[in-house]
Amino acid sequence: MAKFTPPLWVGFFEDPQSLLESARQARDKGFAGLDAFTPYPVHGLEKALGLKHSWVPYSTLIFGLGGASLGYLFMYWVSVVDWPLNVGGKPFNSWPAFVPIIFECGVLLGGLATFVSLLVATNLPRWKPFVIDPQLTNNRFALVIPEKQETVREDIERFLRGAGAIEVKKIVA
């Protein structure tokens, strides 16, 4: 969620298509700091609002590979350096037997990092979330346009109504 600085204009929509269309138009018009709220992920909306790709996959990749490498290094250290033990005549560094644990360490660390990255990227958990309208997680969609000094307030309101919003609301604080 973007850092909101009221006053904000909120336009409510009933279906994803009209939200998507008005989000595109709003961006073309040059409104900045846009955000949208939807009960389920609407495909194409992130592009319509010009959002960047999520960085979470990089974190998954780095921590996944890191977890796998650490897993291998640890088993190597235990089996070759700290306490070399002859198990069934296998070499101390019997890497094929380490593959399952290397894989599991990679997945475990990669998965934990993915979840933590999601929390960091979305700034969750938020103990006092800014809920604009309780229906936004149920059956309504909203486009949020912050009121900047350079834009005239009638402009935003007129734009949202023209774009087919069923309700337009101003949030002051």
């Binding site: 992920p41 959002l51 999520s54 069934g88 997945v107 475990l108 934990l112 969750l124 938020r126």
Partner: protein, 456 residues
């Protein structure tokens, strides 16, 4: 939607249903007072759970001798249950991760309950190895940590691989499941009528608001979890099968085991999903969301995996004959004709013969039939693990060491107890959590706003 579209991809859910209906229908069971039926079922499964607790108490006080193990059968019902429950979990991950990557949108109606099933099944599974090590209070010795004994675990042992595989599987499944629940908890929070509900679901939702900036990261994360869970689920049952395949025992020492176990896991898991969703959709009135079409698709997967499992059974026998190895030949001959032959043929009937009913559309869409088949498959898959474990062990290399294995009342008690634990957790889940993913079902609706099309 044109007529052709409708023919090629019929709507998954009744087009009359709107987003508001989805929220109302699916959150209803969490809002009203529990029904008498739910309480009765909870009492029943809670009773079974208490029985299991009683067995565990006895087991810890007296020792493993109260169960039926004796030389040469030192793995019995406990390991059977472990493999059975891990296998059950696999269908949940298949539905949530693999069907997601394959863009099978019908999964949206069943993935939540199937993932819950995975988590509860892994909890049940994890119990058994911990108890089976004998001194359960020292089970943490399986984890490699610097200790006063100055010893490390043996990283070349499949039993240690299990520790890593099962704990990773549990962690990743839990995170994946919880991630899916976050937006739905936010919906429940926003619809909550009492302060307490608002507070509890508010905490569980982590303060989700549904901003597109959050969805952007959320969807990527979901995809990544699906990508991580897919190889993970294949690895977990492969590693469980290594417990057997890496040993040198005829009947266990076989390279077919990993794919055979994974197919069997998906087979039994789907049977369990069908067993659970039929009462779930009926008692919580979710027939519009988990439709007969969904059940039919699952029955098709049961049919396919049944044939994979049947193929593995037959190939094992063929290879035993073809290998010219007298020990292999004896083991398989003994499996089909020896003292445990009735169990073997029962398993064969349940897993290989009966699922062929699903070649007929009439049976695939008949709820009593599929419920019965699913129960029989569950039974058959439990027997499969029992047969693999016990028949391979009870005829040792030395005939003077041969013995019979008979489970005691404690073995049966803890098995019932694990079912009690599973169903208790599932009933609590069905009562307090959204049993169908609200956000995902909303995304497959034909007409989300619920307004009539046409006009302006």
């Amino acid at each position: 939607m044109s007529a052709l579209d409708e023919k090629l991809a019929p709507p998954l859910i009744n087009p009359q249903i709107s987003m508001g209906d989805v929220t109302a229908d699916i959150s209803r069971p969490t809002e009203r007072k529990p029904s008498k039926l739910w309480l009765a079922m909870l009492a029943f499964s809670g009773g079974a759970l208490l029985l299991g607790v009683y067995v565990v108490y006895n087991l810890l006080r007296t020792g493993l001798g109260i169960a039926g193990w004796n030389h040469p059968v030192m793995w019995g019902v406990f390991i059977t249950n472990f493999v059975f429950w891990i296998g059950i979990g696999h269908a949940g991950t298949l539905i949530s991760a693999i069907l997601f990557l394959l863009r099978q949108r019908w999964r949206t109606s069943i993935n939540r309950s199937a993932e819950a099933m995975t988590i509860f099944a892994v909890i049940c599974a994890g119990l058994f190895p911990v108890l089976h090590v004998g001194r359960a209070w020292l089970a943490y010795w399986l984890i490699p940590y610097p200790n006063q004994r100055l010893l490390w675990v043996n990283f070349r042992s499949p039993l240690v691989w299990d520790v890593f595989a099962v704990s990773t599987y549990f962690t990743i499944s839990l995170l994946f499941w919880f991630q899916g629940l976050i937006p739905d908890f936010a919906t429940l929070r926003d619809q909550a009528k009492t302060k307490l509900r608002k507070k509890i679901y508010g905490i569980l939702s982590l303060g989700w608001t549904g901003s597109v900036r959050d969805w952007n990261h959320y969807e990527k994360t979901y995809l990544l979890f699906a990508g991580l869970a897919t190889p993970l689920v294949l690895s977990v049952h492969s590693i469980v099968s290594f417990d057997f395949a890496v040993s040198l025992l005829p009947g266990w020492h076989s390279t077919i085991f990993p794919p055979y176990f994974v197919a069997g896991a998906i087979f039994s898991g789907f049977a369990m999903v069908v067993t659970l969703t039929i009462p779930l959709r009926k008692f919580f009135k979710l027939e519009e969301y988990i439709t007969v079409n969904h059940l039919e698709l699952m029955n098709k997967i049961i049919l396919v995996t049944s044939m994979m499992v049947g193929y593995a059974y037959l190939v094992e026998f063929f290879i035993a004959w073809y290998s010219e190895n007298p020990f292999e030949r004896f083991t398989y001959w003994n499996r089909a004709t020896g003292p445990y032959a009735p169990l073997f043929w029962m398993m064969f009937l349940c897993n290989v013969v009966i699922p062929h009913l699903f070649w007929f559309k009439k049976f695939r869409r008949n709820i009593p039939v599929m419920f019965l088949v699913a129960i029989l498959v569950n039974l058959g898959m439990w027997l499969e693990r029992f047969v693999i474990i016990v028949t391979s062990l009870h005829r040792d290399f030395l005939p003077s060491a041969w013995a019979q294995y008979t489970p005691t009342k404690f073995d049966y008690g803890i098995t019932l107890g694990s079912f009690g634990l599973f169903f208790t957790l599932f009933l609590l889940f069905a009562r307090f959590f959204p049993t169908i993913s609200l956000a995902e079902v909303k995304s497959v609706l034909v007409n989300p706003s619920g307004k009539k099309k046409g006009g302006a």
